[in-house]
Subunit: 143 residues, 2 copies
DNA sequence: TTTTAATCAGACAAAAATATCTGATTTTTA
DNA sequence: TAAAAATCAGATATTTTTGTCTGATTAAAA
């Protein structure tokens, strides 16, 4: 198995993109998100619950309850979600699993991987997710 | 958690680099590799056993037994090890976990991630591991 | 020939990731 | 006010990954 993000993180990213593509302040139930994205309902619910603790999402209880972004999509980057769910350690650890990999004690691919990692970080942090609205709608087929 | 390779794959890569940095045809016991790389002995043993099936490693039983590369390091690339252990699916699947991510049905970061992924693939496949001998020796401290 | 030290095979165990269930609480709506 | 439908919290279950153990076999060396 080779992975970049955990399932939890992938689902979180998808759910956030989904919500960001909705009309502002529209509340989405866990069930709706689950159906549209084919994510187990309780699982996505848990993930969004945890993101409420980070202040990225807010929830409303009771009938007509659900989740919505508590921050405007123009203020959210993909890296924020990744950080909240998976953390950023992987952007600081050796791709080959060696310990103490650093410029002073580099692994055989330290430099090359470092550059790639920086580009990946940049990819996740250069654009805010409001830029992804159209693409998300197309991908998800919510048109 | 964010990961690029599984532990199994990281250990496999380290062990192969270790063996490639030894004198040609020198046999390394699982215990030696375990000690030098701080990998659980039985685990690295299992990994190397499985790599014998791919023809990358060969084993010798009995006292003075152990493992050595069955291919010259100048014929092995990191991607070969990755493929043998983790497989290459991640180089063909969506970083956000969306299904059917393709140029015709792209996710919001399809193009950008595709480029990065290609560079990562290139990093793992452009150089053979004989080029890493010195760096490996330095990193591992077997001088 | 016996002891020693290694792989090998397969079962087993532990930990982490992923997923589900249950029941309490909340809030809208009939 | 009662029913319905949602979050929320916490326990539980399942699956995958990671790691360990045991015993059989092999081969070198005493």
């Amino acid at each position: 198995m080779t992975v970049l993000f955990s399932k939890k993180c992938e689902y979180g990213l998808q759910a956030i993109l989904y919500m960001a593509a909705q009309e502002e302040d529209r509340i989405c139930s866990a069930e709706e998100i689950s159906n549209k994205l084919s994510i187990p309902k309780e699982f996505v619910s848990k993930i969004l619950q945890s993101l409420t603790l980070n202040g990225i999402v807010e929830s409303k209880k009771g009938k007509t309850g659900g989740f919505k972004l508590s921050i405007n999509p123009s203020k959210i980057k993909l890296i924020d979600i990744v950080e909240a769910i998976d953390g950023l350690e992987s952007f600081n650890s050796c791709v080959l699993g060696f310990s103490n990999c650093s410029p002073k004690n580099p692994c055989p691919v330290h430099k090359e991987w470092g550059e790639l990692r920086n580009k990946a970080y940049e990819m996740l942090s250069s654009e805010t997710i409001d830029k992804f609205k159209e693409k998300t709608l197309t991908k998800i087929g919510v048109l």
